[in-house]
Amino acid sequence: MLDALLSSLVLAGALLTFIGSLGLIRLRDFYSRLHAPTKATTLGVGSLLLASALYFSTRGEGVSLHEVLVTVFLFITAPVSAHLLSKAALHLRLRSLAALPSEVSREGAGDSADRP
């Protein structure tokens, strides 16, 4: 039972990690590619860490929760780096499949706020 649960968590995590990285290849402009690693990969690694916490907690040496720390850290930092990357891309005016918004071409180099 536990074995099946662990196996499915590990497999789901690895599969999501792979799909997220596959998105880097398959999607066709930078702004779309940005979605793949920030979402799928983060959840994939989260699921792997959950499996790890479960695995070490059930080996009889006490509860192991420090994997939670990495998960929380990843979930906090992923949106920040995604926001900064897309801001940098807008700043460089990378080619996009969607129409670039008018204010980007107008404002040009002026960037206003530091934080997301």
Binding site: D3, A4, L6, S7, S8, V10, L11, G13, A14, L15, T17, F18, G20, S21, L22, L24, I25, F30, R33, L34, P37, T41, T42, G44, V45, L48, L49, A51, S52, Y55, F56, R59, S64, H66, E67, L69, V70, F73, L74, T77, V80, S81, L84, L85, K87, A88, A89, H91, L92, L94, D111
Partner: protein, 90 residues
């Protein structure tokens, strides 16, 4: 079932994820693309370390994963800042 079947398959999938990341890192075409590829690679590295930890039943890999998470995030932010401003501090 876990060690016979799930773990090897998971290792293969994560290795394939590494390959995708490296491909994007080499091909580019733009600088943010490469930064994004690096970002993906460090998350993949965390996945690989966690899998190794389960495989070898050793908790020693946890600190390395945490450090990679910290350093990777700081690296991504610094590179983006460099693109946005032309320098990192200030």
């Amino acid at each position: 079932m876990l060690t016979r079947f799930a773990l090897p398959l998971a290792f293969v999938l994560v290795a394939a994820a590494f390959a995708c990341g490296f491909w994007r890192l080499l091909v580019g075409p733009s600088v943010p693309d490469r930064i994004l590829a690096l970002d993906t690679l460090y998350v993949n590295a965390i996945a690989l370390l966690v899998l190794s930890g389960i495989h070898l039943s050793s908790a020693a890999y946890f600190e390395a994963a945490l450090l990679i998470a910290l350093m990777g995030f700081i690296g991504t932010v610094a590179l983006c800042k460099y693109l946005l401003r032309g320098d990192i501090i200030g």
